[in-house]
Symmetry: D3
Subunit: 142 residues, 6 copies
């Protein structure tokens, strides 16, 4: 279990990969209720600059959250996110991974502290897809 | 279809509701791969300050994205998010809705402009659950 | 395998049961994209004459289709439906079953014929939920 | 919100599109429990006149229901359907849309009235897939 | 309904087929939480001896369980399995079927008896994928 | 990454928990196609000795597979299982965990070796639900 004390500024975690499939996009459109045609209408998407359906931004972030070792962290709560930028499209068949660097730690007293993680979600060609600053409230080691 | 020109600063959209069920939490844990026990282990969650399983932050944001009238907007791309804060827990059986105020518009030239929306996700008791600044790139009216 | 020749007018098939759960309603709202609040907003539904969320009509018909012994029938194509009436609400936790009577057979030549089935979908209290006349194109025995 | 008074005979609604994917067919087979091999057995389907797996009729109708602007309608209940005909196959990768014409309105007194909608579900080549007469009970404007 | 008395040693049941799709693998990874990259990372899998993503062993067994006529059997409980061997990979697009031979019956008294079934799961090229000895507790005919 | 060399006979791994919900049972019935009424018909199940719906045996094993640290193991292939016994029912709301002891290692030459794991799946009351001997082919450390 990784406690507040165990996070080190400058440390980088690189995740395993997950291929984003057509099924994932369909499943996420269903779950979220976001049926924007860029995601689920092949004909419509073929006429956009992307030329084809692409994944929802929140799909990519959700998949990334599961690539992080969350069950190994002593998380108290998800505090928030800053400066999330969707910088490149995730296409059907792309394989994403997360590079996550601990950039800041703020002790908040007895309960724990906020760990700030700079997250880069990349594809198999090392292109950046999403950049996000993630803030998680982590417990102190007891 | 709502173009860049149609967004007005200060205008507020209030969405319909969606009840977040145990099935939604199970489905989102499955989709994201985030099996943090606060979300899916009833025994573990009962010993936290929340006292029970609560929804993932990104679940709530994903569900909120589908409550927005996205298929009515001339979206070019999801630009990003700023200052996302998870300020209250979403419990099984809570019904969420979105209040979204257009707070800024920046013309970016020929392709369209960035519309900034201040999003508040609330429950049926009017408690704030998530606050987020959403930036969407919207096309010009042709 | 049940061919056109094997269907007898007047014969009745009674299916096993399936409990319609909250998860089914959530899953069907997701699949269909039909988020009408009567199905997925607990607060809204509590103020209707039904007093609670009820299942989508097409959910009940879809579940019923899987309760029919379709993999035992020599189906060429689903021809159509007549006079479908949603006569009672399906509530969370209700268990549905199908009573299906063969009411007509029309030979259509070499390929097979159309078998008309009068379908009653009922709950565990024997209340009728959906009535439908189903027409299936069934192959001849070779 | 669209009330009984707001429907006009002769008015036509044309929906956005939705691409029906292999994942949709798998998901609908799972949901409905209808595993007829024409839908989910590639080998078996390749020997039929269709030459490949096709979507379930009720899948197409369910997806169409979510393409209709149901959350904008003051629906009291789904009344029924008449003369549903499956006139063409929906293949993997086809994009469906709905053309819906209001063809009749019958006031039923205080609660509202029945609006009859002639629904045509078409693919990206304008071929008709499903024809259906849909009857919805719509509330009066208060 | 098939009771203990109705099973005959030496009798073989051959199931219909089910094509295992990319969506099935994604759905099973999600359900089980088993995201081993051989199943869901296209890049990683391409460097293994299999050359591509393959289905989880338990996915194939789960799908096979639904190809068995379980709703026709008077099952009291699933007793267990012996000597399960995953002898060949199930690739995306392969169509599986089950060949199940009753190899032993043991009366256990009033409640019923244990029927042992030797199960072979094969693909469309008749290659064996999984071999398993399945033991089911079946009720006596009353 | 855990290689063949890293497994030690006698070592025990205890997993985190996962609550098995009604949604899980519905989802697994859908995925597998196993709609045996003990799992999905509340009325039918209430008349069995279990008194209520219980989870499928393969559901519990599938969920357990995702509770094992599979993405940390240098798995070549899932070799097989021996003596799987379903010794207790998993009810809706039960929380399962896995206790897994390495009981045998057999070097198979250059590619790696077979590690045999004795798996006990238990609920929150420490009752044994499933016992299984799992055999995984694990790579050598390079």
């Amino acid at each position: 279990m990784q406690y507040f004390e165990d996070f080190k500024e400058g440390e980088v975690f690189v995740s395993r990969g997950r291929t984003i499939t057509e099924a994932d996009i369909v499943n996420f459109a269903m779950f979220s209720g976001d049926w924007y045609p860029l995601h689920i209408d092949k004909e419509w998407a073929s006429k956009t600059p992307f030329g084809e359906r692409i994944a929802h931004g929140l799909l990519v972030m959700s998949a990334a959250s599961g690539l992080m070792p969350v069950t190994e962290m002593a998380i108290v709560a998800f505090y928030g996110m800053d400066k999330v930028r969707f910088v490149g499209p995730t296409r059907i068949g792309d394989t994403i991974r997360v590079e996550a660097e601990t950039v800041e730690k703020k002790d908040k007293g007895e309960l724990g502290g906020v760990v700030t993680i700079q997250q880069k979600i990349k594809n198999q060609r090392d292109e950046e897809l999403v950049l996000a600053t993630i803030k998680i409230f982590i417990a102190h080691k007891k």
